[in-house]
Amino acid sequence: MSAASEFAVLLKNRGKAKDKATDTKPALGFLAPWLIGAVCLTFVPMVISLYLSLTKYNMLTSPKFVGLQNYATLLQDTRYLQSLKVTFSYVIISVPLQLIAALALAVVLDRGMRGLTFYRSAFYLPSMLGGSVAIAVLWKMVFGSDGLFNQALGLFGLDVTQSWIANTATANGTLMVLHIWQFGSPMVIFLAGLRQIPRELYEAASVDGAGKWRQFLSITLPMLSPIIFFNLVMSIINSFQTFTQAFVVSGGTGGPNDATLFYTLYLYMQGFGSMKMGYAAAMAWILVIIVAVLTVINFALSKYWVHYDD
């Protein structure tokens, strides 16, 4: 079970089971590192950043309280709105496509495929390397004006000389491809999930005359839906925080013409580039709200398509 589902269960059962206090002393010992971290590196910083989001602060002079002004300014900041557009389109397109690729490959590999271990490694490797600066560098070269991609197009008689990275219309697309390329990690999770589905279900359906596609729709998808759901939730949350690839590919600018100005990249530029810490803190809190709202919507919609055993 994933952390997100555990959290959902916890919410559902809240207040039902009273925590007994029989092991308080040893618990304090075992939890001491986490407790210190949770207070000093998480809880207190969250309170501070909420306060900072209501101030102007450049780390040189003390914070000046300005109320909701940062939030109001954000709504009129065209670059901020652009970063929302870039990030949303990235998430809406690349998250579903990555999960579909992962599911398709998992289903293909699951049915007695020869060399399963080799394929699993081959598809998994990109998702282990994909977050690195080296792969971002590679992507810049692959989709550059005389990069590997255009050379490959040349094989099909297409003579393209434009750089896909330097083109406003396609720069974000190259990063989406990079995201989809890393479908191996959800694929491995789906493979593990497929193994849990009892074979008898397929046999029974087959005897009843259901074809492969029908079996996929009425057995595989429903049985796998909880896993798909939690992958979707976590994938959306993580994709909203895309940073490294956009930073490296655009040379830290979010260019061309702000086409790869991802949310967290703009946050970094405002906070650590221009030292507008209050403004960046406000951006961080709006990000939390966006992610929270999307997660709640996901959970609300889940009852229409996610099947649980109980």
């Binding site: 952390a3 997100a4 809240r14 293909v108 080799f118 998994y124 990109p126 792969i135 590997l148 906070g271």
Partner: protein
Amino acid sequence: MTNATIAADAVSAQSIPVHEDHKVRRIVLQAIKQIVVLAFALLMLYPILWMVASSLRKPSEIFTNMGLWVSDPQWHNYVDGWNALSYSFGKYFLNSFIIVAFAIVGNILTCSMAAYAFARLNFKFRGLMFGFMLLMLMIPVHVVIIPQYIIWNNLSLINTYVPLILPKFLAMDGFFTFLFYQFIRGLPRDLDEAAKIDGAGHIRIFFQGLLPLMKPAIGTTAVFTFMWTFNDFFSQLIYLTDPAKYTVPIALRNFIDATSQSSYGPMFAMSVLSIIPLFIVFCFGQKYLVEGIATTGGK
């Protein structure tokens, strides 16, 4: 071959010619499937292989040769790249490995301890704290990164590895706490009970009884911590601005910004070197990676 297709065959076996037909069709379909999947796998890996080939080429050849065969390997690309920045890449690798080593020890020790408390001990606000831990897995780090930066800055710890290492000793990677938690819950409680009757305290139950049994979870934590810490870019970018403190990703990024067309070979060479540790850990630790994401459902 699946049982379902065997069952389908059994049904059609009544008329023999149809059965033969099916068999041939199935073999052909299987072969096509194998070829398509293999081709797709090679397509996925091709960019990486091309990068390795390009790291041994002259700059003029990188953008004209899309093949993988290197006829005239330019080994000096590696030497040039290694010494291209103000310090040698050996220094950056050493810096990265220092951080990674501490991160692995910290995560294993403190996350497993916190997990033991959540999985086995009764204390007040257990549910509330556990919920907070899980919630932090889902909340973007950016909401705490600015105050954290201000705190480390006030303590004059920017350009040290403390901001990168200390959180690992405070069990701040909830993913691993959750991983250990799941694992401990799968261990029979009889073990604890037997140890308790023998008069063992929680410290002995944990360190002598449970910890040796948690090798798979420890392996998964070590492998993932290696991958994520070695690849970590955002926090290293923020906290390390002194070139002597640079890690591999930060050095590589500076290399690109300073690179002109003529030194693409050395740049690719260093890119390849930077993913070799990841590749080695991936090969040897794959079992743990697969088990890890299968049991926790990924991050």
